[in-house]
């Protein structure tokens, strides 16, 4: 009979868990409806979707990132299967979150900027849904242009992302709601996308008329398929003649004469060349680029006023497609801007022009240093960098940049010329590729393997220990044991090398960061043998020891809890412990503690911490009492009141202290430091 309440309690808990699972599990067949962001303007947008049942479409939206309430818009027409809800009264260049009616999921989109404010889009040349989603989410572009057309039977790679960005193709909207683009059925030989003061025109075939420029846009970017302009493309002998004979060029010139402030002066010829080549014909710049099929899987297209650049997301160098017109003499600042936009080759060329034309300019030393530095740190052209650093040192030895140049010359000349290719390969991985792969652990592992290959292939090069040290340092965050192996390898294979001199210290730090304090302490102990590291190693060893002690204390605390709780539990089941009033007293104590803590709430970092730290003492005092009283009675016997009281108080205090230590150890170690533990 005594077990009935216990069985009832267990049954209640099980029933509650089952009910919670039934209520919270996803509804069977409740697949989410994914809307499409169809048309987005500076102050309006339209959301479309289809339903299996006829309903009246409704969209709830609000500005994202705070700053406004929710607005509900219902579609004006009667219930149906196809829904398109226009949202109006929006602000330019603002992100909005929206959901369909009472749908659970919120989606978002961003309105076009007003005027010619900066924005960027993605040009995607892939049919892999996973990759497409990852790119769109990580970059959050204003819109997407899909160069890869849909293939029958393949999954739609844009199915999910259409709820967040409008998707276009060179032949029209890339939308299942409106009908997917069909190059054969395209009514016009061109298609335009208007966005933020820009018009992107895709020209496919034949001779488009000047109507393709019928737009209030301030800037035009024309992308033309190979074949529209015959001949060899920009840079070939007869290119100007070939261009002048096309309807495209005539249309461009006609537009430019009528609109001198809004000229279409920039055309990308797709499929003309593997390498970028530019040629100006009648003040229209034609740039050759590879064909759409050969384009990278994804490119970011940045538009910032007259500046247009492409940025491959694989970390390779960006390319400036279109530069703002240089109305006056080139300055160092403009050259620097090119470098900041990732156009290193162009920046070096501009700096070199600047140096040639401004030999006595006060910024020439800046320019010389910049050329050398870009060659050194961005293009990894060490012989070139040395030449330019040397020019700076020879001609401007009193420049403020001369010491830096000397430092770099010293660094580069540390290596033989034969080492330069290895150095370039290593620096490219270290500075560019590894940093670009920060979200891709597999890619990072591959790059680390590449560095290992470099080390093994060039084991006798002075670069080998440098590369090995870097590799070990990176592994420390990914695989501590592998990192330690590499640090040991460094010590054994390159003893006496400066890179190996603090290997024990590095091993200690690796173990410490991995929470393996015993190994860390031992490694710091070995590091103490190196006189210049002794002080730091001793301090780190002491830190490790403190952590070991805390860990041991926590183990001991668990043991105490187990030793009091388990027999206490058995004893409590056999004989009655403190009564209901005791529970009520501790409950009152807990409430008072919470209230007291609330009065000084700014002392706690969160509400969870406040509740945890204020309730724990009362809770553990209560549990200690509940468990220790019957246990003490079993141990000391009820006939010896003094022994009973001492045993009860002792066991209760022991339980309380152990439990409180564990709470502090696991939830807020700050207080352990305060108590000198």
């Amino acid at each position: 009979m005594r077990k009935i309440p216990l069985i009832t309690a267990v049954a209640v808990v099980v029933a509650a868990a089952l009910a919670a699972w039934l209520l919270l599990r996803p509804a069977p067949g409740g697949r989410e409806i994914l809307p499409e962001v169809l048309a987005v303007g500076p102050v309006s947008a339209s959301i479309a979707w289809t339903t299996a049942e006829p309903v009246r479409g409704e969209v709830v939206f609000r500005p994202s990132a705070g700053g406004g309430g929710e607005t509900v818009i219902q579609e004006p027409q009667e219930p149906g299967f196809r829904h398109e809800v226009p949202l109006t009264g929006l602000s330019p260049a603002t992100r909005y979150a929206y959901r369909l009616g009472r749908g659970k999921s919120w989606f978002h989109f961003q309105t076009q900027p007003a005027g010619a404010d900066p924005f960027y889009s993605l040009m995607v040349n892939s049919r892999d849904p996973g990759k497409v989603t990852e790119w769109v989410l990580s970059e959050s572009p204003d819109f997407v242009i899909s160069l890869a057309l849909p293939q029958p039977g393949e999954p739609d790679p844009f199915q999910e992302v259409r709820a967040f960005v409008p998707v276009f193709s060179p032949f029209g909207p890339h939308s299942p709601f409106l009908g997917m683009p069909d190059p054969q059925a395209a009514a016009l030989p061109w298609h335009a996308v208007d966005w933020g003061g820009y018009r992107l025109v895709f020209v496919h075939h034949a001779a488009p008329g000047p109507e393709m420029f019928n737009s209030p846009a301030s800037f035009f970017l024309v992308m033309v398929d190979r074949g529209v302009i015959p001949g060899g493309g920009p840079g070939s002998e007869d290119f100007a003649e070939q261009v002048r004979g096309t309807g495209l060029h005539e249309s461009i010139l006609a537009h430019n004469i009528e609109n001198p402030q809004r000229k279409a002066d920039f055309v990308v010829l797709l499929g003309s060349r593997e390498k970028t080549v530019r040629e100006a014909v009648d003040q229209v710049t034609y740039v050759a680029a590879s064909s759409m099929e050969d384009w990278p899987e994804v490119l970011r297209l940045d538009m910032d006023g007259a500046l247009v650049r492409t940025v491959p997301l694989d970390g390779t160098a960006a390319m400036v497609l279109r530069q703002p017109a240089v109305a006056r003499k080139l300055t160092c600042r403009e050259c620097r801007q090119l470098a900041e936009n990732g156009a290193y080759e162009e920046s070096v060329a501009s700096y070199e022009t600047f140096v040639r034309e401004n030999a006595s300019h006060y910024q020439v030393d800046d320019a010389l240093f910049a050329i050398a530095q870009i060659r050194d740190e961005k293009l990894f052209d060490y012989p070139g960098a040395l030449t330019w650093y040397q020019q700076l040192l020879d001609k401007h030895s009193d420049s403020a940049l001369a010491p830096l140049a000397r430092q770099r010359v010293r660094f580069i000349t540390t290596w033989d010329e034969a080492d330069f290719p290895v150095l370039a390969a290593f620096e490219r991985i270290r500075k560019l590729e590894y940093a670009a792969a920060r979200e891709q652990p597999q890619e990072r592992a591959r790059l680390l393997d590449q560095v290992d290959g470099l080390v093994r292939e060039n084991a006798r090069s002075p670069l080998a220990p440098v590369m090995l040290r870097w590799r070990a340092g990176q592994l420390a965050f990914l695989d501590p044991e592998a990192a330690v192996r590499e640090f040991m390898r460094l010590k054994e294979e390159y003893p006496g090398h400066p890179e190996a001199s603090d290997a024990w210290m590095a091993i200690g730090e690796t173990w410490y960061a991995a929470g393996r304090y015993q190994e860390a302490r031992e490694a710091f102990g070995w590091a103490e043998e190196t006189p210049e590291l002794a002080g730091a190693a001793r301090a780190q060893a002491a830190r490790s020891l403190r952590n070991i002690r805390r860990k041991n204390f926590s183990m001991a605390a668990w043991a105490v809890l187990a030793l009091v709780a388990l027999p206490g539990l058995v004893a409590a089941l056999r004989s009655p412990g403190p009564g209901r009033r005791t529970g009520a007293a501790f409950l009152a104590l807990a409430v008072a503690s919470v209230f007291g803590a609330w009065l000084i709430q700014e002392e706690f970092s969160s509400m969870t911490e406040l509740i945890l730290l204020s309730v724990s003492p009362a809770l553990f005092a209560f549990l200690g009492t509940v468990l220790s009283a019957p246990l003490a009675a079993a141990l000391a016997g009820r006939s010896r009141p003094v022994a009973l009281a001492l045993a009860g108080a002792g066991l209760g205090a022991l339980f309380f202290l152990a439990a409180m230590y564990l709470v502090l150890y696991h939830f807020n170690m700050h207080y352990l430091i305060v108590f000198g533990l």
Binding site: S64, A65, A97, P118, Q337, E439, F477
Partner: protein
Amino acid sequence: MKKFWILLLPLTLLFACSGDKGLEAIREGASAQVAIERLRKESPPSWAVIQAEYEKTLPMVLAADQKWGTNYEKEIPLALALCQEGTDVEVNQQVLAKGLQHAAVLGIRDNLAMVREDKHAAARATAYFEGIRPTFVRRDKDYFAPDKPLEQTADRALTALAEDGEGIGTWTAARELLDVMDRTYALCVLYELQSVEKLRDDDRAECAVKMKEAEVFWRIIAPRVKKTSSKAYETIAAMLGADYGAVDAKAAKEALSQGLSGIQLL
């Protein structure tokens, strides 16, 4: 009743034993970060205690340095050492306080990037957020009182992240959190520059502190601004690198608005 309490014990122990160890370290770091904010404002601050608290934030700092190429593992101890010896204490402690905020923001960004693949990512982002919450509270008070759009939006996004798990709605929640963080730190940069404008004729020492604060806050949002508009990036970077006389809060506001496309700053 007694048996109910006895039943509660193993459940409590089970609860105490369970959980993500990484999450606990983040919570500890966030809690230490808040403690550092409080401790450094004491008069005089106990730099030894602050040092002990800083050590708890090390995993966060190291992770940021490793993944994002920041250098706080060296910058912060140096700043702490300078504070301990009394050199430019007001300026140097900004490196500690704001540097930790930067590391926390990077931690949140990392976790938001994997929120659909890793079920603990939302909890980790929330734990990191506790370390930077006071900044949201301050900027709400400075610019929007009695409303609290920054803190409320962040809380709404964190709740949505926790509730939606692997659903598609997490994308919007993650984006909203990223946006509101950038908005808050852009307002921090603006606030410090506005302060420099007010103080530059009377209190140049305080201006140095404000500029240092603006500089570290700027690091948090600079990549996004640079990606969107190199002109906006250069405007702010030049302002922060020049003399106090070159600070123009109005131009800074315009540049920040332009560089943070999608966000309404004020």
